[in-house]
């Protein structure tokens, strides 16, 4: 690794840290700009009770002090404060509980979509303009233009209600099949199209012709030369794919009643559970930022032709 690459990586890491800080700051001040504060609208609270509640959660202190306490707690203790609606539970505990299910969902969906996407894309490129290519392209075009919640609802209607082959409730392992398929279809379609176009690009390169001319077998050309190089653009999609899976899981977990972080987030929005909204936004955002960082660095390390800024 050259010193230029190292410098780039350091710069990217600093930008990522800065971005997470910006997210924390925006989230904090935006949430605290809501008129009335979190306890307005609670049933049967007298002003005295409200003042006591605000004192308990530190809401009576000046805003800047609250901000630095919040920031300090996150950095030093990874502490996002207590939940307002689920009394006695810390935000970080609720999030890590939900994260277990959501992680399984997201990782399997990502693995499935990458695997199938690469294979289908390679088949489409190798059989360019044949029937199978056309079919793959039509299907992936349809999947790419369907929002995840529509896809989820339709799959739910088809498999759980009309055919009754899979459970609609996502709290059991079998119930995770439909949410995983829902989450995987869009990235799979995207990766298929990405692999197809980059594979076509690679197949037209001179070194493929050279390999053919010196008598390398077809399989060796495909696996040894073409596929390896056409996977580089796919690598760059890993970051956006994670962002898609995270935001997609918000609605997908809602539809299939999966007890994950997405459902916890959505219900915290409806409940106006402020610390929970803030904590989840920050953690999910940090996850996406870190994943984008890893993707960028991997990309530059894997492909030496990329010029570094």
């Amino acid at each position: 690794m050259s010193s230029k690459t190292a410098l780039y990586i350091i710069k990217r890491i600093l930008l990522a840290i800065f971005t997470v800080w910006v997210v924390i700051t925006i989230t904090f001040f935006v949430m605290h700009s809501v008129p009335g504060g979190p306890f307005v609208g609670e049933k049967a609270t007298t002003p005295a009770v409200q003042a006591a509640m605000e004192a308990k959660y530190g809401l009576d202190k000046p805003l800047s002090e609250q901000y630095f306490t919040y920031l300090g707690d996150i950095v030093t203790k990874f502490d996002f404060g207590p939940s307002l609606k689920q009394r006695g539970r810390m935000v970080i505990d609720i999030i890590s509980d939900g994260m277990k299910t959501s992680m399984v969902l997201g990782v399997i969906a990502a693995a499935i979509s990458t695997l199938f996407g690469v294979v289908l894309g390679a088949i489409a490129a190798l059989r360019r303009n044949k029937l199978i290519d056309r079919i793959i392209m039509v299907i992936t075009t349809a999947f790419v233009s369907m929002p995840s919640f529509i896809m989820g609802s339709l799959l739910l209607a088809l498999f759980a209600i009309v055919l009754q082959v899979l459970p609609a409730n996502g709290s059991t392992p079998a119930g995770l099949v439909l949410p995983i398929i829902t989450l995987a279809l869009y990235p799979m379609a995207y990766i298929t199209r990405l692999t197809r176009s980059s594979m076509l690009d690679v197949l037209g390169q001179d070194y493929i012709r050279t390999a053919k001319a010196k008598g390398v077998s077809g399989t060796r050309i495909i696996f040894g030369h073409a596929l390896k190089n056409s996977l580089i653009p796919v690598l760059t999609y890993l970051g956006p794919m994670l962002a898609y899976i995270v935001t997609g899981s918000l609605v997908v977990e809602q539809i299939f009643a999966v007890p994950g972080i997405g459902r916890a987030f959505v219900s915290s929005i409806t409940n106006r559970d402020y610390p929970m909204i803030m904590g989840t936004t920050i953690i999910l955002a940090a996850l996406i930022v870190v994943m984008n960082l890893v993707t960028d660095i991997l990309y530059k390390v894997v492909d030496p032709r990329i010029t570094l800024e």
Binding site: A16, V22, V23, I26, P35, I150, I269, A285
Partner: protein, 354 residues
Amino acid sequence: MAPKKKKFTFHVDLSSFMPASDKDKEYMVQMRPSTTFFKDGMKRLYKNKVAFISLIVIVFITLSSIFVPFFWPYSYEDQLGVQPGKPVDSSYNNLAPFEYGRTEQTKIDNGESVFPHVFGTDAAGRDYFIRVIYGTRVSLAVGFFASVIVLLIGTLVGSISGYFGGKVDLIIMRIVDIIYSLPDMLMVILLSTVLKLTLTPVIEGTFLEAIGANIISLFIVFALLYWVSMSRLIRGQILSLREQEYVLSARATGAKGRWIITKHLIPNCISVVIISAALQIPSAIFTESYLSFLGLGVNAPMPSLGSLASDALNGLTSYPYRLVIPALVISLIVLSLNLFGDGLRDAFDPKLNA
């Protein structure tokens, strides 16, 4: 009569050097009139069947979402079973397609004609067809205005950044970098949640109330976050176009700034801008329906395609078509806008196609 041709002679055939007759001249005239940039692009677009069909679909959906409500006898908010001064007639709720409520049925039995409920009614007894049409109108309008906002802000910031360069450019581009790396969907959800609460009392009683706090916050979010890729694009365009050789050669042949801008920079830049604005519409529709699905979209009773799909989930077992219809409409709109946008790009920007 031409002189007899002799082999090995150096005599010149004089007939080859006669002045051209009118007939000869005709061959030299350019047969088709010179095309403009726009005409050329339109011709390519017209040849692209997929893009053309998509355009027809878009125009059809848009026109019907605008004009159908004018002659449709039901409105999107009328609960047909609820008449002033009478008990609620629940026979109007959850009608299947082409079924009628009790009072309508007696009218039909008496020989009167009643306008059919093509898609039936929803759980509150509202005609579902007109709700879908209205939802389409709302979704399209949101998509269109959101992209106009993005276009305006992106163009303004991008051209300032590209034109001034230097420190201004550096600062703007760092801000763009940071906004670009923010996870947009999470920020949209956060801002819409908060803006919904903040805006609702502010706009009460003004004309903005009809649009609803959610939609306004959606526009604000788009104005805050989504302009960055547009401004990056335009800055890049301006920076690279300014340095092109044909601009230099135009300047060398004495062209003035005005000529260069109108004849070289704008035609080369505008297509990219319009295309990315066109591709912005489906993404805005996507975002709106996503937010509506989470309950952060349009205010009830106004429907949008996302909120219709979300409402349909409750009665999914009995009335699956109520989900399928808005789902199909959203997918059709997004699909045809994407295909049309791609077609536009291929037709008007052959450079990108390479």
